[in-house]
């Protein structure tokens, strides 16, 4: 690990230790925040008891399904828009300002349409993450060096062959950035939805525990989300970086 | 090692054997602290820059040419030795020195005019004088048409002209240039070289040009210093003997080939060394 990596680890450990100390010495009330060690013990118990397993699996499933749809549909739409310059010219300003709109506020509409359940959650999560994939696809297809396309023509490749053998690998780093972003947004969308209104899932469980003053469970589950989210995003980011470094020839 | 100033140039009058800047036994060693790895980047260097001369420095990559410039300009402290400019020891950047860097240093958020005026305004020069000098420099560097443009709208060569103009308005007595034409194509380089000579004659400043292009060094300067591979020291000083009124057409002079050949003769061995192979 690099020198900065060690410093970083030190900073995180120091912050956690500080929080632990503040909680143990009563500077922070027990009813407000639990000490990190207590949170960890609570999480351990939760995992052992398995009582939240169904919720955990449900949330995970919804996140993966939403990501998959966003990536697949986003790529397809991105490729189509890329192929139609006039459509692209009209659509691009909208895409650019898309993330300035708090799209999450459309969640209640989906609840009215689909009822409370996974469908509404997946719908809003896809709505949140699809545009990131579309813009990444557009950028990726843009950045394929023209000389590679010319090479394809010299080799007399058919469009589908060129798309799979040249376009896809050449655009892959940018496409993967889209995958990374889609996953992160899908995760945020699913958990936020479960929080606001839902009947099951980790987000719902945390909100339920909060409303019922079960701080132990709440913080245990919160810690779970923090760990899983950070681990998944860090892993995807590491892969993204490696792919990006391929670009710097 | 040949000491500069041993053979007075025939062109300059006896009185003008005036030393403008002097480096004595200057070395620069990075990481001279106990823990860091030591990198002996430069020296020992002995150099006398005569007032008003055009001096070029050539050497293999990594030999410390840029470090030499940094030390002379007061941007870096020598680990050993002494740097003297106009009779005073150099501590920080002294007044009267201008530097043109290799990279584009033009400020992207200012127009050409505001870029050129930048140094004058920061130094508190009054508006009328600033306008006078800026107009002159812009005209001199051929930027009049682009005075209100932004650097992003200009080519690399034009942007370097902006940087040169910005240095020129401050009327420096010593001008240091670190491979200023590095990113330009050959033809633009030749023309920019002519501009530089015009600038030199006009301002009567002392000029030190660092370049990796031998023809550029030969064509532009009164004297060329050849540096060895790292740690760089001067292994030769070559007088070109050109008249003051010169331009790029000097390449057709037979003496040009002789000088360039002598430079390459010394430099070739050093370049191979810096690449890690032997002759």
């Amino acid at each position: 690990m690099t020198r900065e990596g060690w410093i970083r680890l030190g900073v995180v450990l120091a912050a956690t230790a500080a929080l632990e100390a503040l909680c143990r010495f009563g500077a922070i009330a027990h009813t407000v925040v639990l000490a990190p060690t207590e949170m960890t013990i609570s999480l351990w118990r939760i995992l052992l008891s398995g009582e939240y397993n169904a919720d955990i699996l449900l949330t995970l499933r919804n996140v993966l399904v939403s990501s998959a749809i966003a990536v697949g549909l986003g790529f397809a739409l991105g490729a189509i828009i890329h192929a139609l310059p006039r459509v692209r010219g009209a659509v691009e300003p909208l895409l650019a300002s898309y993330y300035s709109i708090p799209t999450f506020m459309f969640y209640p509409i989906f609840i009215v349409i689909f009822g409370v359940g996974s469908q509404a959650i997946i719908a809003i999560a896809v709505l949140l993450s699809i545009v990131a994939m579309i813009t990444s696809t557009l950028t990726g297809l843009d950045r394929i060096p023209p000389v590679l396309r010319k090479t394809a023509r010299v080799f007399r490749m058919s469009p589908p062959a060129r798309a799979v053998l040249i376009d896809l690998p050449a655009a892959a780093p940018y496409l993967f950035t889209g995958v990374k972003l889609s996953f992160a947004y899908a995760l945020i969308g699913v958990i936020a939805s479960e929080f606001i209104l839902s009947g099951a899932g980790i987000g719902y469980s945390i909100a339920y525990a909060y409303n019922n003053f079960s701080n132990q469970r709440m913080y245990g589950l919160m810690l779970l989300v923090i760990i899983v989210a950070t681990a998944a995003n860090t892993a995807l980011d590491a892969i993204d970086r490696r792919l990006q470094s391929r670009l710097r020839r | 090692m040949i000491r500069a100033g041993d053979a007075p140039t025939t062109r300059s009058a006896k009185a003008a054997n005036d030393v403008h800047a002097r480096l004595t036994a200057v070395t620069r060693i990075y990481g001279a602290s106990p823990s860091g790895a030591r990198l002996h980047a430069l020296g020992p260097i002995d150099l006398d820059l005569k007032r008003g001369e055009f001096f070029a420095v050539v050497g293999p990559s990594g030999c410390g040419k840029s470090t030499l410039l940094d030390v002379l300009a007061g941007l870096a402290e020598p680990t050993e030795g002494e740097v003297v400019f106009e009779g005073q020891r150099v501590r920080g950047v002294p007044d009267g020195i201008g530097v043109v860097f290799q990279e584009d240093a033009s400020f992207s958020w200012l127009t050409v005019r505001d870029n050129v005026a930048f140094g004058l305004r920061r130094a508190g020069v009054d508006a009328a004088e600033t306008a006078r000098r800026v107009d002159y420099a812009i005209g001199f560097m051929g930027l009049r048409e682009f005075a209100r443009a932004y650097p992003a709208q200009l080519s690399g060569g034009m942007r370097q002209r902006v940087c040169i103009a910005r240095t020129l308005v401050l009327q420096p007595r010593l001008i240091l240039l670190d491979e200023p034409f590095g990113s330009l194509d050959q033809q633009t380089r030749l023309l920019m070289g002519d501009e530089l000579l015009r600038l030199w004659r006009e301002t009567k400043a002392t000029v030190m040009l660092i370049t990796h292009a031998l023809d550029e060094a030969t064509m532009l300067s009164d004297r060329v210093g050849v540096m060895s591979a790292r740690p760089g020291v001067f292994i030769d000083f070559v007088e070109t003997g050109w008249p003051r009124e010169r331009d790029s057409r000097i390449v057709s002079d037979p003496h040009f080939g002789a000088v360039t050949a002598r430079l390459w003769d010394k430099l070739r061995v050093e370049s191979l060394k810096s690449m890690g192979t032997t002759a």
Partner: protein, 242 residues
Amino acid sequence: MKRFGDFLILLFALFAVWQGLYAIAGETTLTSPAATFVHLGQLMRTEQFWGHVAETGWAFAMAVAISLAGGIGLGTLLGLNRTSGVVSEPILIALYSLPKVTLYPVVLLCFGLGISAKVAFGAMHGLIPVAIFTMKAIMQIKPVYLRTARVLRLSPSQLAMTIALPAVLPEVLAGARLGFSLSLLGVLIGEMFASKRGLGFLITSAMGLGDIATIMSVAVFLSIFAVAANALLLLIDRAIPH
């Protein structure tokens, strides 16, 4: 002109899709574009509606102020030193991609159920991107600018004001735009989760009552505001030379 024409066609297409969905889904699940705008007009004539707007607006304004001041301050501090910048970047990015909604109960436990909790939500969401963009911008100031400043013998404050600030401004503005949008999102989600006032609350209570028209009206209102604000910020961005 052609571009604007294309844009209008697209807008028209969006409305057509909306109308089509309404035709398929029926009165109880969606309202038509026309009906939505009519309802919005009615809402905008009530005092109650503007009370909610004021609540959200006020929380949002404060959240943005904290996000900008805190984000620029933090980003500058971390960016000035190369080591602190490299150390902090992954930590900030991890915080950025975390579903911060998970931390809402903590905020509520600390701040209670009032407007300060909402401001905290908004600031949580907006501060981090502003900090990240500012920090990176400062770390990426062209070294040749710093050397130029030394050759021109500028004082530290001259360096900061006349070179560093203009050099980082474009990136900081990009971060500010993002922080602006995310602060709004944070405040709204906070209101949807735990509030008795504000536009977010209006949406969730309308949902409870099955009042689809209000949900869509408020959504349209917020969309128009968000797009207009973003367009304004973009104009400001373009007006500054860089």
